[in-house]
Amino acid sequence: MLRGLWQLTWLEIKIFVREPLGVIGTVGIPVLIFVLFGRMFGSAARRGLQGVPAAVSVDLPILTSILITTSAVLSLVAIIAIYREGGILRRLRATPLRPYTILTAQVLVKLLFTAVTLAAMLLAGRRYVAMDAGVPLASFTLALLFSTVSILSLGFLLASLVPTARFAQPMGTLLLYPMLGVSGLFVPVASLPPMLRAVARVLPLTYAVSLLRGIWHGEGWSAHIGDVTVLSVMFLAFTAASTRLFRWE
């Protein structure tokens, strides 16, 4: 039963907005990166100039989208660690709120801000980045939210294992940013050394990048059944693992 889910979600949104630094970090920075790189390399990409890395030209929307997801995950890990350490989870748990309601509310908040950031990014950057009429925005938003949910489940697993709030942020950063490196965003997965290729194959970001990139460039969902399947399986696996390992205090 989801009694209290909407109240809790709405409250968490308000509480999140009350911390200006958090909002700037999650919403402002990806938008800023998007606009800056878009200004610097956007026109070069349009003219098809060589020497500009694809990650900051043609793939810029993908890069920033992945950054949005990553910061959502990091913020989730931090919030859960703080809530656990401060006894907030403990207090909420002693009410008729079901544990998964508490966690679902957090996921909904993250998804909302992911969508808001994406919208802000597209609005602010539309002058600098080639946005052909062909970009399927609705599909792309859906793909981003789907990828975020899947990667958030990894965040839950992380949050289940990280003992204190102080470790949560650096641990998350250590885990997520190297993932970005092999995700295929900067170097195609196919041209990675075999070892790293194997690593890339087991990380969710790789599939998220492939899915987002495909959808942005106008490919259909049917071309990415594999990505969707892997992300779904990872979501189920991480969620199952974190329900077993999750500690409330």
Partner: protein, 306 residues
């Protein structure tokens, strides 16, 4: 008691790894009483309360709360109990009325949140963030949250720890108010004064075991029957007169001050009669009664705060 106990705990044991937190604990809490579990930190109070509240599963033993099994019927039970937990916090930037509103939305029959906020003296803090509240205000908010569903039974864990005496007194009044509205209160404290002033009955717990249960005054009578009368007098014969009272066990003097000790409950009466009979001139007169603190020391061999 003819009435069904509100809480029935029988032979409960709970271990964490190799540490035995509570061992063979048994007690009943009766309707509309304030029942206190008292003992030092680490004695097993919180563990016991968490087992009773359904937050932990005991390894052994039976617990029944309002006729329900706190483990199996935890969600049914949560509608009928209110809980304040030790060391719990809320989101830093949640407002008082938002917290109360959220809690109200979680229960089937909540009371009026705004009135509750007023009753607990938080009216002018309605829109304040949790992080800006004082310790006493936070605890009053937690009491409000524990009362939002109009519970039959309220759990209060170390409610006044870390509060100044004034805030503490205010909280005590609130707790008495809860009982006056016909509810049962189950609390833990390591403050003997709090237990003595607030609780109808207490269970003394030490190293995971219950040592004795009863009304505070009765426990004091049972374990510390000594009475002490201290008299300051300039009558040189006074000491001799007091020694002649059969109920007096010892008289010691320090200058003009005499300390008279005895075990009889009517020691004071006998001393006053003696004063009147011999027309002893009294400069000062006071009695000293043992407290729960003394009972605890006697029963466990150590002070409650060590």
């Amino acid at each position: 008691m003819a009435e069904q106990p509100v809480i029935h705990v029988a032979s409960v044991r709970k271990t964490y790894g190799r540490t035995v937190a509570v061992d063979e604990i048994s007690f009943d809490v009766h309707p509309v009483e304030i029942f206190g579990l008292i003992g030092p930190n680490g004695a097993g109070k919180t563990t016991t309360m968490e087992c009773v509240g359904g937050l932990r599963v005991p390894d052994r033993g039976r617990i029944s709360v309002l006729g329900l099994d706190p483990r199996r019927d935890v969600y049914a039970l949560q509608e009928r109990i209110g809980v304040q937990l030790q060391e719990a916090q809320l989101q830093k930037r949640i407002k008082v009325r938002e917290a109360v509103g959220l809690w109200a939305s979680l229960y089937r029959k909540p009371v009026d949140g705004d009135r509750l906020i007023e009753q607990l003296g938080l009216g002018d803090k309605r829109d304040a963030w949790f992080m800006t509240l004082s310790g006493g205000q936070k605890q009053r908010l937690f009491i409000a949250l524990a009362l939002i569903n109009d519970p039959e039974l309220v759990f209060l864990d170390e409610l006044t720890t870390g509060l100044d005496p004034q805030a503490r007194r205010k909280i005590w009044d609130l707790v008495r108010g809860i009982r006056q509205r016909g509810k049962t209160v189950f609390l833990t404290t390591h403050l003997m004064e709090e237990a003595e002033r607030l609780c109808d009955r207490v269970a003394i717990i030490d190293h995971g075991r219950i040592i004795d249960i009863g009304p505070p005054a009765e426990l004091v009578r049972r374990h510390c029957p000594e009475r002490t009368v201290i008299i300051v007098t300039d009558d040189p014969n006074a000491e001799e007169r007091f020694r002649a009272i059969p109920q007096v066990q010892s008289v010691s003097s320090a200058g003009a001050q005499l300390t008279i000790r005895g075990r009889a409950g009517d020691l004071v009466t006998h001393v006053i009669q003696c004063l009147a009979e011999h027309r002893i001139h009294v400069i000062d007169f006071r009695t000293e009664l043992p407290t729960l603190e003394d009972v605890f020391l006697k029963l466990t061999g150590h002070m409650i705060r060590d």
